[in-house]
């Protein structure tokens, strides 16, 4: 038994970490945040070169055929670096497509998705706070999809959408192309400029059914939860380091504030909450890879716990920075917004804790 990363995983993590440091400095993040669609084609192409868009995609389709844990390590580094772009939606959508195992759709879309040439997004939630594939109302009838997906990450720039909907047989997955008629995409203004969301409206939109049932969609949802948890961990760790570094340089009353035990203990308490929680998303990712029956519950626990810790960490980081932490000019604000997204997207902590209770079989 071994609960640790392989040397290949450490190498992958380091590689992505170095990539974010060299390619995704805060000036570039700010440019992307202020751009109209939040998408930097060069940045995405550069990610394609190191294989990130196709990490999960089987080698036969041009991907790296790696595990969810590998992808989660990338998400951790993206949270650390506050990397903007369509990574989350693309990962969920490719995961759904792989799980759907529809040979024609896989053959057509996975190879360009693996290189990043085509971007995918995943449309699941409809009703506020609900991300259950079995509960979607969007339906396929009379030759097209009908319905509304009000909060789809990466939808505006996606070349194709994997949509959770239903037909007379029940829930399933449909594939919709960017230029399909009857598809309206409304970009929304979100508090986090690094992960854009849009509302999608389907009015008889032609779509290809690629799977029946909910299992592929559930897997994609659980993957999304794990990626958000890993992102939150990386983001929180970065805030902690920024605050530590600030405390080591900021002088007050003739000494650095790192000398104040009050500051030291606040940072120690944040670290104590954060460090052990790393294992939660490691395990949830591992469960998606190896122990799928445990994955939904562990993904829910990891997402709820890590995103709350991220928020706590940002709060204390801003307090310890004082006024400077509250400005656009200082980078901390990028993670403040990142934390808001991680916390809210795919459902708030209370929702996932209740899901975890139900998944444990506790009578309600």
């Amino acid at each position: 038994m071994d609960f640790g990363l392989s040397s290949e995983q450490t190498l992958l993590s380091d590689t992505v970490g170095r990539w974010t440091e060299s390619e995704c400095k805060s000036t570039r993040i700010r440019q992307i945040v202020e751009s109209s669609d939040g998408h930097d084609r060069d940045l995405w192409a550069s990610l394609g070169k190191i294989g990130v868009p196709g990490l999960l995609i089987p080698e036969v389709h041009g991907g790296a055929g790696l595990d969810v844990l590998d992808l989660a390590l990338v998400a951790e580094q993206f949270g650390r670096g506050c990397v903007p772009g369509p990574f989350l939606g693309h990962a969920m959508a490719t995961s759904a497509l792989i799980a759907a195992d529809h040979s024609q759709a896989c053959a057509r879309w996975l190879p360009p998705a693996a290189t990043g040439e085509k971007i995918l997004a995943f449309a699941l939630g409809e009703e506020i706070g609900t991300w259950e594939p079995a509960q979607v109302g969007t339906s396929f009838h009379e030759g097209g999809l009908h319905g509304l997906k009000p909060l789809v990450a990466g939808a505006e720039i996606a070349d194709a959408l994997i949509v959770v909907a239903r037909d007379s047989e029940g829930p399933g997955l449909w594939l919709v192309e960017r230029d399909a008629p009857g598809l309206t995409t409304t970009p929304l203004s979100g508090s986090d400029g690094t992960r854009r969301v849009a509302a999608l409206r389907f009015d008889g939109t032609p779509a290809q059914k690629i799977a029946s049932g909910t299992s592929a969609a559930e897997r994609a949802r659980d993957l999304g939860l794990v990626l958000l948890a890993a992102d939150a961990f990386g983001g929180a760790w970065r805030c902690l380091e920024m605050t530590r570094d600030y405390a080591l340089t900021r002088e007050q009353f003739g000494q650095t504030i790192a000398h104040f035990q009050g500051v030291k203990h606040q940072l120690a308490d944040l670290t104590t909450a954060l460090a052990p929680a790393c294992s939660l998303w490691w395990y949830a990712a591992h469960a998606l890879d190896q122990i799928p029956e445990q994955a939904p519950r562990h993904a829910a626990l990891a997402k709820s716990h890590l995103t709350e810790i991220f928020d706590d960490t940002v709060r204390t980081s801003i307090e310890l920075h004082g006024g400077i932490g509250f400005t656009f000019e200082y980078d901390l604000q990028l993670w403040f917004r990142r934390a808001l997204f991680d916390r809210a997207y795919l459902g708030e902590a209370r929702y996932h804790r209740e899901r975890a209770a139900t998944l444990a079989g506790w009578p309600a």
Binding site: L188, G190, Q252, Q255, G323, F326, R343
Partner: protein, 406 residues
């Protein structure tokens, strides 16, 4: 303890109401030349256009506004009576009539001038400040100083009849709109740290002053940086003695803490959050019906009530001339922690829609809750960072020793 209104007070309320009916009409209510919904949402009418100034003069004459300020400086000079003050506040809000101007001029500079200013300064500044005709900003914080006012570096050197001021201030609220700044400037470089600072009044139009707005997380620019390059300030434009600015400023800081500790804003965002819970349907039922949300709301309401009632307690000790002690020292930290926790609950009630920005139509309350969530941080930072508050509570409230100085 007596929270009821006696007949005398009921008569006073009728009198205020009659005054308002006569002097602030529907037409006046509609006459705001530049209505600001965010400021209006802060609960009292803060407009300072000529019509509002005229009304304020009448209200002061009637004894309703600036009751603690002497008549000769433009106040109403009334005996302290927290009950009357409460009635006035309630009735002015009800009538949407211009109330006392909030902000740093009336609440921080005026008490300082009354305590330490020259007769000429009082006559020149107090009344126009109370009427909103002169707006002030505060020049205390500097880069690298923050709560540690003793380490200020902006300097003033006497050059004939003027101080030659150089340096930089930061976290200055409303610097762009302010006509004047009250600032702490180091004038005696050889003196020990706490000495050698002078409390100075600076006309923001003086050549050599540059204001650069600092954008905040919520996109607004409440704060600025202010740069001074050879700014010439008249020699007489100081409050209190030269080099005594540290102690002169302490009365102001005390006023600031009371202002920020005020629970009114916490009440406002709590009520907003409660309304959000009653209106937002999550997963097929109203958030207010969710046992977890109810539990958190009532827990927060207890803390809010504690803050509000503690405020009444402070008003009472104040009116009685008693020392409020630790109950005053903790107010600000107690309330700023509360802001955050209320705003966090509001985000949770908004569920996944909480990530939408203000103004987005599908955001609950059009994302209005995002604003208070952000504003918490500004409030938590204003008036001294939380750790400074903790030191003050520990040292002055509990009698613990001061931190070691390295």
């Amino acid at each position: 303890m007596n929270l009821s209104y006696s007949e005398a007070y009921q008569a006073f309320r009728a009198e205020v109401r009659a005054f308002l009916t006569a002097n602030w009409t529907d037409a006046d209510r509609a006459s705001d030349p530049a209505p600001d919904p965010v400021k209006a949402s802060l609960g009292s009418v803060v407009r300072a256009d000529p019509r509002a100034s005229e009304f304020r003069r009448q209200a002061i004459a009637a004894g309703y506004l600036y009751r603690q300020v002497p008549r000769r400086y433009g106040g109403a000079e009334q005996p302290a009576d927290t009950l009357k003050a409460t009635i006035i506040t309630e009735e002015f809000k009800r009538a949407k009539a211009p109330a006392e101007i909030l902000g740093q001029g009336p609440s921080m500079l005026v008490p300082t001038l009354l305590a330490h200013g020259t007769e000429e300064q009082r006559e020149r500044f107090v009344e126009p400040t109370l009427l909103g005709q002169i707006r002030w900003c505060q020049g205390y914080s500097e880069p690298g100083a923050g709560s540690d006012l003793a380490s200020l570096r902006a300097s003033g050197v006497l050059d004939g009849d003027h101080w030659l001021v150089n340096g930089q201030k930061t976290w200055t609220s409303n610097a762009a709109e302010a006509k004047w700044m009250f600032a702490l400037i180091r004038t005696e470089p050889g003196a020990p740290k706490h000495d050698g600072i002078t409390y100075m009044l600076i006309d923001m139009k003086t050549p050599g002053i540059e204001v650069r707005p600092l954008r905040q997380l919520n996109g607004a620019a409440h704060f600025s940086e202010v740069f001074f390059t050879d700014v010439r300030v008249p020699r007489t434009s100081i409050v209190g003695e030269r080099g005594r600015g540290w102690s002169v400023s302490r009365s102001t800081l005390k006023a600031e803490r009371a202002l920020i500790g005020n629970a009114g804003f916490a009440r406002q965002i709590f009520d907003g959050t409660l309304a959000l819970a009653q209106l937002t349907e999550v997963r097929g039922r109203k958030a207010i019906e969710d046992a977890v949300i109810r539990d958190r709301l009532t827990d927060l309401e207890s803390r809010l009530l504690a803050a509000e009632l503690n405020g009444y307690r402070l008003l009472t000790t104040n009116a009685r001339g008693e020392d409020p002690g630790i109950f005053s020292l903790v107010a600000k930290l107690h309330t700023s922690t509360l802001f955050y926790d209320i705003a966090r609950l509001a985000m949770d009630i908004s569920s996944d829609r909480g990530l939408l920005a203000p103004g987005e139509p599908t955001a609950p309350f059009s994302g209005m809750l995002f604003e208070p969530y952000m504003t918490y941080y500004a409030l938590a930072i204003g008036g001294g960072a939380p750790n400074i508050q903790r030191n003050v509570i520990g040292e002055r409230g509990l009698g613990l020793p001061r931190d070691a100085r390295l």
